[in-house]
Subunit: 244 residues, 2 copies
DNA sequence: GTTCGTCAACGAACGCTGTTCGTTCCGGAC
DNA sequence: GTCCGGAACGAACAGCGTTCGTTGACGAAC
């Protein structure tokens, strides 16, 4: 009697054939975040979907859920990854204004460069380790500069909200580019709209016309940031305690 | 030979029977916007979908597209509807600070009360008639107060961004409530998280602990708005021209 | 060596989204 | 009456985030 191997044995046709499948690939939170970040930079936040991230990693969307709770968590992780690229200087209270402006301008640029990830900062308070570093630095610097305690405590929120909002607004431009549309044309249309408004009802808008859209995004942002920093400075008492 | 009417003539069974349908109802942009606004107030911006708006009006989503180009346009219209409820005072340059604070605080409350519609303001510059009224008032008042021309022109953007960001942040609280979760519990958890951070790395965060979450939203917003207004005031030259 | 439990990886499917396409209906103009 | 344009409509498309049940891989215990 001949000995036969399993392959030699014919099976009834109603048995389910064993599936042939590529070996399972191994994922990690890091590679998922990295893929999402690449996608974010290339296509903006709307381009980041679980399916597309999974496809870039050669798997299916369900596999991501073993590593991140949901899409929100993934976006929070991506945000903190971006925050980790922002350099934090050694605090020098004598130059607190300069340092606050420099740091939060860096934050603004980091967010602007990464689609509208700043939406994440608005929808959920950023509490990742890298975000906390930036917060800590700001708190320490302002405190050492003599800003009153409660103002210090609230300042990070003010700065983060303003910076994030500016970064989100930048997506208007970025989206236009992505759609292959001309930015200058869009702003020209807005300008035309302003100019077309009835002057009896909108005299200042019509008169200030070109000033309203003057300056580039960085200039406009810097102006607003300066307002806030000026406000913080006005809170420092003349006889501020030396907290260094 | 008898005369028969159309109803009397038997039809082949393979003909498609005439559909019986309720009479068409008539829609307008106004009723669509009103329905969307009701839904926004009840359920937040995520609760507003074309299907749900249409269902509330007893029709299907495709019918809405005869009146609004797309969902973005609908949300812009809803935004401007909300802006229309904000009272605009008679400008008094002698009290410009007070009036700016009052008006933009009203804007903030109007936005906060209406889910995160402020997302719309961040994603697309609000250019509806009611938004332009607020903008015009702000421009005129700051100009009359002596703020330099370029600063006037840029100020509306700064104010709008800051206010909108604050209103969007309010959705964190609103969403918690909507989910039947306890707000205080969430903020307590955040506080616990701050307190649990390693003190060597986050000394200020740990030390300022309770101050960080002190105050309610309105207080924190007022603090930030005051920073900006202070910044604007600092731009008025001592010998400001009288522009009244 | 085998067996078992755990968790990562996976595919199918669910319930939902905004929008388009083709059809029907309605009202106004002729 | 007919014709036309636009509102209203249903079906369907392509996509979304997520869940559920199954499979596979691995390490620990025996």
């Amino acid at each position: 009697m001949l000995v036969t191997t399993a392959e030699d044995r014919p099976e009834p046709p109603w048995w389910t054939p064993r599936k042939t499948r590529a070996p399972r690939r191994s994922l990690s939170r890091e590679v998922i975040v990295a893929a999402a970040l690449r996608m974010l930079r290339a296509e903006g936040v709307d381009g980041v979907t679980m399916r597309r991230v999974a496809a870039e990693l050669g798997t299916g969307p369900a596999s991501l859920y073993a590593h991140v709770a949901n899409k929100d968590e993934l976006m929070d992780l991506v945000f903190d990854e971006i925050a980790g690229d922002i350099p934090i200087p050694e605090p020098d209270p004598a130059r607190w204004r300069e340092q606050i402006v420099a740091l939060w301008t860096d934050v603004y640029h980091a967010l602007s460069r990464n689609g509208d990830i700043a939406h994440t900062a608005l929808a959920r308070v950023p509490l990742g380790p890298n975000s906390m570093r930036i917060s800590e630095f700001t708190l320490a610097l302002l405190y050492a500069a003599g800003v009153p305690r409660q103002a210090v405590a609230w300042s990070v929120d003010v700065l983060a909200l303003f910076v994030s909002a500016n970064a989100v607004e930048d997506t208007i431009s970025a989206d236009l580019e992505r759609q292959g549309r001309d930015r200058a044309e869009y702003y020209e249309k807005v300008g035309d709209y302003f100019a077309s408004l009835p002057a009896e009802q909108f005299p200042m808008t019509v008169e200030l016309g070109p000033d309203l859209s003057a300056g580039d995004k960085a200039e406009r942002f810097a102006f607003g940031l300066d307002m806030i920093v000026e406000g913080l400075a006005s809170r420092i008492p003349r006889d501020a305690p030396d907290r260094r």
